[in-house]
Structure formats: C-alpha cells, structure tokens
C-alpha cells in the first residue's frame, strides 16, 4: 500500500554523522568515562554467562505458548509429555493435546487484538507443520496424506476464526474507530505474511495429494479475502494531514505519564 513511500524513506539511511566527529566524540566519551583508569579486563563469573543465556533463552524459547505448556506441565506433573506435544505433528498421539492447549491459551487471552495475533500465530504453526510433514522421509505416502489433511483442516479452522473477527468489525453498528483500525492493521500485516508462507508451502506439496492441494488453495483464497477486508477497513480511515498539528495535548500528557526527566535529571526510563 505504501511501498513506494517506504522505499523513498529508506534513502534517508544515507544520512550519516561526520566521520571525524564520530571518532573524536568516541575518544572524548572514553576519556570521560574514565577509560584511562581501567587496567584489567573485567572478570566474569558463571552467573554472568548464565544471565546472557537466560536472556537469550527467554527471548527465543519462552514464547507465551511454551510458558503456557510449562505452567500446565508442572501443574499436572507431566511436563515432559506436554512439552513433547508442543513439537508433535498431526496423526501423532500428542497432537490433540497440543491443539487443546492452544484452545486453553486462547480462552485465557483477553482482548480482541491479542486473540487475533494468537490465532494467526497458530495458523502460522499449522503451515510450519505442513512443511515438516512434507519434509518427512520415513513416513509412507498414505500416512503423509492423512497428516497433511489433518493439518490443513486445522489451518482452515484457524483462518475461519480470524475471518469471524473481521466480519464482526465490519458489522459493528457503533464501531470504535481506533480499535477497528488497530485490528484491521494487525490482521492485514499478519495475514499478508501468512498468505506468503502458505503459498510457499503449497508449492512443496506432493502431486499425489490433489485434494489436499485443493483445500490449501481454498485456504489461500480465504486468507487473501481476509486481507482484502482488512485493507478495506484501513482505507476507510479518514485521517489526513490535519493530524500534523493535532494531539499536542495528548503528547504532553504522554510525556507526563512517562515521567520524562527534567533538564537536571535525564535518566532513561526503560525497565526490562
């Protein structure tokens, strides 16, 4: 929608600080932080390294879905089984557990926007499952076909569920414009990615499974229809350049709520 503008904006990356300033400022900063007094390299304990690993682990592994699995796992005392279900594929014994847990996660998630993001994430997982099934070499083609059909069926359910949200927003008699726009933009950006992944996956499907391919094609069309509906809602947003000068009050109250530092106390406010 805005690709040409984005391309132009990226040209601004060419703006760089003066290289001599950059080097001089580096030296100045190092002298100000007392680099000259540093005689030995800092020592790191195993605790420090575990902190780095912990942060990385948290980012990569502790996604909400995994956390949910672990919490439930500890509660029922069989975390290994539930964790194993996270990596299971359709047709395998633990797959229904995985789907049930996703439903449970959805049930405890409040707010339309978060639910939509989660549903699209689940749809993306189904596509990953399709990729994995196609890549399996130790499964005979009949089983593979059954697995693919099950994964695509689940995918269709996920997509239909996202469709419901967009229909609801379209039919709302008294829409909250901001909320509708937030939902439409989320759906539009996420489903575009979904559509691309799905398209890629459909090309790798074996030719021996025409009916599965048909369902995948239907799903691609559904996803594209959802994206189109979301884009229509976004286009309806009537904001114009008038907003250049609006919301000054809002900005000020934002600044106040952020407890921005004064000239004498410029401490960053991020807490992680």
């Amino acid at each position: 929608m805005h690709e040409d503008v984005i391309k132009k904006l990226k040209e601004l990356k060419n703006i760089q600080p003066r290289s001599e300033w950059q080097a001089q400022n580096r030296d100045l900063l190092l002298s100000r932080i007392g680099a000259s007094h540093q005689v030995t390299a800092p020592e790191f304990s195993w605790l420090d390294y575990s902190w780095v690993l912990g942060v990385l682990f948290k980012q990569k592994m502790l996604e909400p879905a995994v956390v949910m699995l672990l919490v439930l796992g500890f509660t029922v005392g069989s975390s290994l089984v539930i964790n194993a279900s996270f990596y299971s594929l359709p047709g395998q014994g633990l797959y229904p557990v995985k789907i049930a847990l996703e439903k449970a996660q959805l049930a405890i998630t409040s707010g339309d926007e978060k639910q939509i993001e989660l549903k699209i994430e689940f749809a993306q997982k189904r596509i990953n499952e399709i990729d994995k099934i196609v890549a399996q070499s130790d499964v005979d083609s009949t089983d593979k076909q059954g697995q693919l059909a099950a994964a695509v069926k689940e995918l269709q359910k996920n997509v239909a569920s996202v469709q419901q949200h967009i229909t609801k927003e379209n039919q709302s008699p008294d829409p909250d414009r901001e909320k509708t726009l937030r939902i439409a933009i989320s759906i539009s950006s996420e489903t575009k990615e979904l559509s691309q992944s799905l398209d890629k996956a459909s090309k790798t499907l074996p030719t021996t499974t025409p009916e599965v391919k048909d369902i995948v094609n239907q799903t691609v069309e559904s996803v594209q229809a959802i994206t189109a509906s979301a884009d229509k809602l976004i286009q309806a947003d009537a904001t114009s350049t008038d907003s250049l000068v609006e919301n000054k009050e809002e900005e000020k109250s934002d600044a106040a709520s952020n407890q921005l530092p004064t000239a004498t106390s410029s401490t960053p406010i991020i807490k992680n």
Binding site: H2, V5, K8, L9, K10, E11, L12, K13, N14, I15, Q16, P17, Q22, R26, L28, L29, L30, R32, I33, G34, A35, Q38, A41, P42, E43, Y49, W51, V52, V55, L56, E113, E117, E178, L181, R182, I185, S186, S189, T239, S240, T241, S243, L244, V245, N247, K248, E251, D254, A255, N258, L260, P261, T262, A263, S266, T267, P268, I269, I270, N272
Partner: protein, 184 residues
C-alpha cells in the same frame, strides 16, 4: 556469532564497566542515534551534542545499582527521546515561556526550515523536510521502523505504547508522509 548474542555479551561487559564494550556499542549505534536526533533538533551541532550526551547518560544509567537492561538499543532510543525533551525544556527556561509556546515555536521553526528547503531539488532533502514537518510521534515511528528497522515490539517498548497502537501510528504516519511528498 549472531548480532543478538554479541550485543548481549557487550551489554554484560558494559554492566561490568568495561570501556572497550562501551566503545564497541558506540560504534554499533552512533549513526542511528545521531540520525534519530537530527530530525528533531534545529542544527547538526545540536544533534552531535545530544548524541554524545545519550551515550554518556546511558553509561551512567547502566552503572547505577538496580537498573536492569534487557535491550540496549531500546534504552538508547528512549534516552534520546528524553534528552530531546530536556533540550527544548532548557531552551524554554532561558526564554521564560511555557511549554505550549515552545512547541509552537518548534513547529514554526520546522515550517520555516521546510520553506527554506522546499527549493532543494534532491529527493533526500525533500524527504528530510517532510520528516521535520511531521509531528513527533509520527516522525519517531517512521525513523524507528524504516530507517533503523526496529521491530514493532521494540518500537512499542521505546514509545511505551501497545503494539496495536504502534501499527496504527505507522499506518497514519506513512499516509501523512505520502501526502507531504505529493505536495512537494
């Protein structure tokens, strides 16, 4: 080694007050922080001074007890935003005028800057002018998303907003930039 792991290790070394790690993180982010500030202040000199201050304040902040930092880059941008606000506060205190007038003056100087530069033929100059005309929130999301390529989550962290609100801001900011480009 992936850049993410490298940054985490540098951050760990920074927390141990290692100046070499500070220098490496400076080299990694100085250009993007400078650019982020440049579009918010009147002159290059101001942008250079504030960029320098951002790194110094961040070094001090990380050294203070109890300050846990998960994402160094987000911390730099948040610090830069705060220092720009401080910059205009200091100027306003010198002239004994209220915040509102400062904002209006800022808007005026941007308009003037825009008019001065409108004759510039180069696309980059025009774009720079367009960015300067945007309101702060819009300019921030445009720079963070498309120039510095932060993720939606990182931008939400810097601006202290929800991911949904950030997406809406980006959409609206792009719309305004598009209109400004077509006008110029």
């Amino acid at each position: 080694m992936s850049s993410n792991i490298k940054e985490k290790i540098l951050l760990l070394r920074l927390q141990k007050r290692d100046p070499e790690a500070f220098a490496q993180l400076y080299d990694l982010y100085v250009a993007s922080i400078y650019r982020f500030i440049l579009f918010k202040v009147p002159t290059r000199q101001d942008a250079e001074d504030l960029t320098s201050e951002v790194f110094l304040k961040t070094w001090q902040y990380i050294g203070e007890a109890g300050n846990n930092v998960g994402n160094f880059r987000s911390l730099l941008y948040a610090s830069a935003r705060n220092l720009v606000v401080d910059f205009y506060r200091r100027r306003s205190q010198g002239e004994m005028i209220g915040d509102e007038e400062v904002l209006l003056q800022l808007e005026d100087s941007r308009q003037q800057n825009f008019l001065n530069q409108i004759d510039a033929k180069a696309d980059v100059k025009n774009l720079e002018s367009c960015l300067r005309r945007l309101k702060d929130e819009y300019r921030d999301v445009i720079i963070l998303r498309f120039l510095d390529e932060l993720s939606i989550s990182e931008i939400a962290e810097v601006l202290n907003k929800s991911k949904g609100s950030v997406r809406v801001l980006i959409h609206r900011a792009l719309k305004v930039v598009k209109e400004l480009i077509s006008q110029s």
